[in-house]
């Protein structure tokens, strides 16, 4: 009889960390200890703390192990599984007075609430029965057997659910538009393109609980009167694609996709369309073009997809995370959902925490949680005692928030009013070592690469923006450069065809507004305060401190350092120096200064 279940994270991060081999090793050691009839091992989705993966959860004890390697497994099996003594040095759970605390009381999980990530890290995503055990497909059954289309739409409207793909448009409204169209053929699409650098929320949902998205798409299709769907996902997400394929097959085998679902007369099926990983293909009209087999380029709106979408038919397109909330809204009711979060931003939001933060990973918090709670209480703050400088949200379309904004409750409108945006949920923390001009340059570099080239302001304008920023980082900027940045930004915003161009200047405008002094330092003093822009740096050896050992000269890859061993202080030739910083690392006497 089974008494312990071990679930090993098989998301992308932990898979790279070798979690596949862990499963085999667990099985081997469990067998070796003669416990194979008592303990089972399964794979699961993201547990959240990707930075200390691979993660392994043990039930019923509710203990999570971190950074588990093949070498730890024997100890976990004999000490914990056989003798009941959890291996504390590997545990994520806090321990107080010798007692292992519930994982939900640990600092990382205490302030989280998992709705979209519900079941991720608990069930085996490749086994439909585990999803069904956790009330999977009950919402679809309820909708098909007891609710009218309008009742479904009204429920979603009343929940206040807003699109999680970036724009925050009310999902129910979108469904209503599509429902009201008098066409016979309609479509539903799931946007799983997820192109923002640093974002992996949607991938994790699909890897951990693919059925939640499939079920929601069927519900949406019923509500608007569609019977076919597409999941548009980038081919760069092979694990998510494979789990989706397995899930779709299993749903078909169980009659949960196909004709006459639950004997209701409602037919629905869907297919996966692989994208090649272009950022612009996340934009809904470009995505639709891509599904149709054309080059992924945006179209002018109107017409909106709800009127004329894929194959010219009424289409709703929603984000993965938006869908992941639907089944629970149907089962637990719109009032329950609306009671979580804030009045204007209901429910929760998943964030991918990255950058200069201790707990890198995936978190889901109620809307209205403050940035401080996410970054400090859950994320653990900046590592190595560095000072927090800003957090970038909304990716290349978003902006930065600083120390003064830390107590802002997270919500669509709150972030917009501060000049940033919710975006899809990437949250990149920056510390004192990040140069804000360089950060803006990084995002523009990304945009220049990803601009599809259809409209001139975006194709040429963003390139010019990039060049202006680059000139500042090289110390060639003047006051006019700033004026030009502001001017050009406005023109690009006003005249670009799609959201990509219209929001591309945001990182520039946001950093210009919040970190004007840093721009000024680059322009007037020709200095980069964070010490990032190489052209503005110089490495100088203090002759007083130099012990004439020559270690720095040995390390210099370009032979820029000269001096006579034991006799004269060494000197760096500024013309030759490539500012790699190797000499600073080599010097034992802290004689080399970066200025």
């Amino acid at each position: 009889m089974e008494r312990i279940q071990v679930v090993v994270c098989a998301g992308t991060g932990c898979t790279i960390g070798n979690s596949g081999e862990l499963i085999e090793k667990f099985k081997e050691e469990i067998k070796h200890a003669g416990l194979e009839n008592e303990i089972s091992v399964k794979k699961t989705g993201c547990l959240g703390l990707c930075g200390v993966g691979p993660n392994v959860a043990v039930y019923p004890d509710n203990i999570i192990y971190k950074t588990v390697s093949v070498d730890d497994i024997k100890e976990i099996v004999t000490e914990h599984f056989l003798k009941g003594r959890p291996v504390q040095r590997k545990m994520l759970n806090d321990v107080k007075d010798g007692k292992v605390l519930d994982i939900n009381h640990s600092s990382f999980y205490a302030k989280q609430k998992r709705i979209a990530l519900n079941n991720c890290g608990v069930i085996d995503p490749e086994n439909i029965e585990e999803y069904i055990a956790k009330d999977g497909y009950q919402a679809l059954a309820k909708v098909l057997t007891s609710m009218s289309k309008q009742e479904v739409i009204d429920e979603v409207l009343a929940s206040g659910l807003r699109g999680r793909g970036g724009g925050g448009f009310p999902a129910g409204k979108k469904w209503q538009f599509a429902h009201d169209q008098q066409e016979k053929q309609k479509y539903v699409i799931c946007n799983a393109d997820e192109g923002d650098p640093g974002a992996f929320m949607d991938r994790s949902i699909l890897e951990g609980n693919p059925h939640s998205v499939i079920e929601a798409m069927a519900i949406a299709a019923y509500a608007i009167g569609a019977n076919y769907g597409y999941i548009y996902i980038r081919a760069e997400y092979p694990i998510a694609v494979q789990r989706l394929e397995v899930a779709i097959d299993q749903a078909r085998e169980h009659g949960l996709l196909g004709d006459d679902i639950f004997g209701s007369g409602f037919d629905f099926d869907l297919e996966i369309r692989l994208g090649a990983g272009a950022f612009v293909c996340g934009e809904e009209t470009a995505l639709i073009r891509s599904i149709e087999g054309h080059r992924g380029m945006p179209q002018p709106k109107p017409p909106f997809p709800a009127v004329s979408g894929v194959w010219g038919k009424p289409t709703i397109i929603n984000n993965v995370e938006t869908y992941a909330n639907i089944a629970q809204i149907i089962l637990k009711g719109s009032a329950w959902f609306a009671s979580i979060g804030t009045p204007a931003s209901t429910g929760t939001k998943v964030f991918a925490l990255g950058g200069k933060i201790k707990n890198t990973g995936l978190v889901e918090v109620p809307m209205g949680t403050t940035l401080r709670e996410v970054i400090y209480d859950i994320g653990g703050g900046c590592p190595n005692g560095k000072e927090f400088k800003a957090v970038q949200t909304g990716g290349p379309s978003g902006g930065c928030l600083t120390k003064e904004h830390l107590d802002t409750p997270i919500g669509f409108d709150e972030l917009l009013s501060l000049g940033s945006m919710m975006g899809s949920g990437g949250m990149i923390v920056l510390d004192e070592d990040n140069c804000m001009v360089d950060v803006a340059r990084f995002y523009l570099d990304f945009i220049v690469d990803e601009s599809c080239g259809k409209c001139t302001p975006c194709r040429i304008g963003t390139k010019r923006l990039y060049e202006l920023l680059e000139s500042i980082t090289k110390g060639e900027g003047t006051q006019e450069t700033i004026d030009e940045l502001l001017n050009l930004s406005q023109v690009i915003k006003d005249t670009s065809l799609c959201g990509l161009g219209q929001t591309a200047p945001n990182p520039v405008l946001s950093t210009l507004r919040l970190f004007a002094d840093e721009y000024q330092a680059h322009i007037e003093d020709k200095k980069c305060p964070a010490g990032v822009c190489k052209e503005l740096l110089s490495y100088i050896i203090d002759p007083e401190l130099c012990r004439k050992c020559g270690l720095c000269a040995k390390q210099c890859p370009v032979g820029a350092i000269s001096g006579e061993l034991g006799k004269t202080a060494f000197v760096i030739d500024q013309e030759k120096c490539i500012k790699c910083g190797q000499c600073v690392k080599a010097c034992h006497f802290k004689a080399i200064e970066r200025r």
């Binding site: 279940q5 019923p60 069930i123 585990e130």
Partner: protein, 121 residues
């Protein structure tokens, strides 16, 4: 499947296989002290019997293990905590006693006084 009943049947069947991963509350937590002393005194057989019976009789209890509950010479020890947090510890439990504890304590909420580990023992 074509009906909601079929879905519900499959749910019931599937829940049986993953009870310990559901978020439902439990009437009792049953903790068996394993560790070297416990195992030497036969705690493993007690643990397995408890797991088997709880499952077989569909008792809403969660059976887990611990390294050591108390320092005694009275292993195997079994601690039972009810949903209000009240707890008792049984001492020198063998397989037959385990069945009796299930029948009396878990099924009929009747503490078996004579098996209890006394304070200070």
């Amino acid at each position: 499947m074509k009906t909601v009943e079929e879905l519900n049947q499959l749910r019931t069947k599937a829940r049986n296989k993953m009870e310990m991963r559901l978020d439902d509350g439990h009437d009792y937590f049953v903790v068996v002290a394993m560790g070297t002393a416990g195992i030497a005194a036969g705690a493993r057989n007690v643990l397995l019997k408890l797991v088997e019976k709880v499952h077989e009789l569909k008792i809403n209890a969660l059976v887990t293990q611990d390294g050591q509950i108390e320092v005694t010479g009275q292993e195997p020890l079994v601690k039972i905590v009810d949903s209000t947090g009240n707890q008792v510890i049984y001492k020198k439990v063998d397989v037959a006693m385990a069945e009796e504890i299930i029948a009396k304590h878990l099924q009929n909420n009747q503490v078996i006084e004579e098996y209890l580990l006394q304070e200070g023992q």
